[in-house]
Symmetry: C2
Subunit: 105 residues, 2 copies
């Protein structure tokens, strides 16, 4: 949860915010961790959705009936989380090294 507000993008990288948002779990708001997809195509961390389904057999996003047996690994999401975090680090780093030329100069 705390993680969500910690991530600030410099103005010239703000276009990465949408991708960051999409790659977060709707339960814990952290980056998806071992992504599982429900039958209704919603994605969660494996632990988050399993814990949720142990209380209610519903998708937390759309309320469709859901069971643990219906869950399917969404490994491409895990790969995307990793590649995105690496790219973000590199871009934010190179951003600090060469700040954008301000219009006044």
């Amino acid at each position: 949860m705390a993680q969500l507000n910690e991530v600030d993008f410099p103005p010239n990288l703000s276009c990465l915010k949408d991708i960051d948002t999409l790659l977060r779990c709707p339960i814990c708001f952290e980056c998806l961790n071992i992504t599982m997809m429900t039958q209704c195509s919603h994605n969660f961390c494996s632990l988050c959705i399993r814990k949720f389904l142990s209380y209610k057999l519903l998708c937390p996003v759309c309320n469709m009936p859901s069971t643990e047996q219906d869950l399917r690994n969404n490994r491409l999401l895990d790969d995307l989380v990793q590649s995105f975090q690496a790219a973000r680090q590199k871009l934010c780093h190179s951003n600090l090294e060469s700040p954008p030329i301000s219009p006044q100069t």
Copy 2:
């Protein structure tokens, strides 16, 4: 197919290449278009995998038995393709406007 080689990232944005590769369909090599996931968690354009399965009931990536009925929408991938394309355009554009400071200057 042709699309694949057309996409060149400027050196300082080369870290986006991995994300670009992950968001492509293993059949047509274009960006995923209406992403469908097999039971074995591999992703393809809807048209590409349906056409393939009409010939062979196997996943083209891992050869696991697959049917059209097993396919599941992977809509988050479609959203990621859109956000990534928007971000790439903005980053490459702002890149042209302010070229990196060369070490000689």
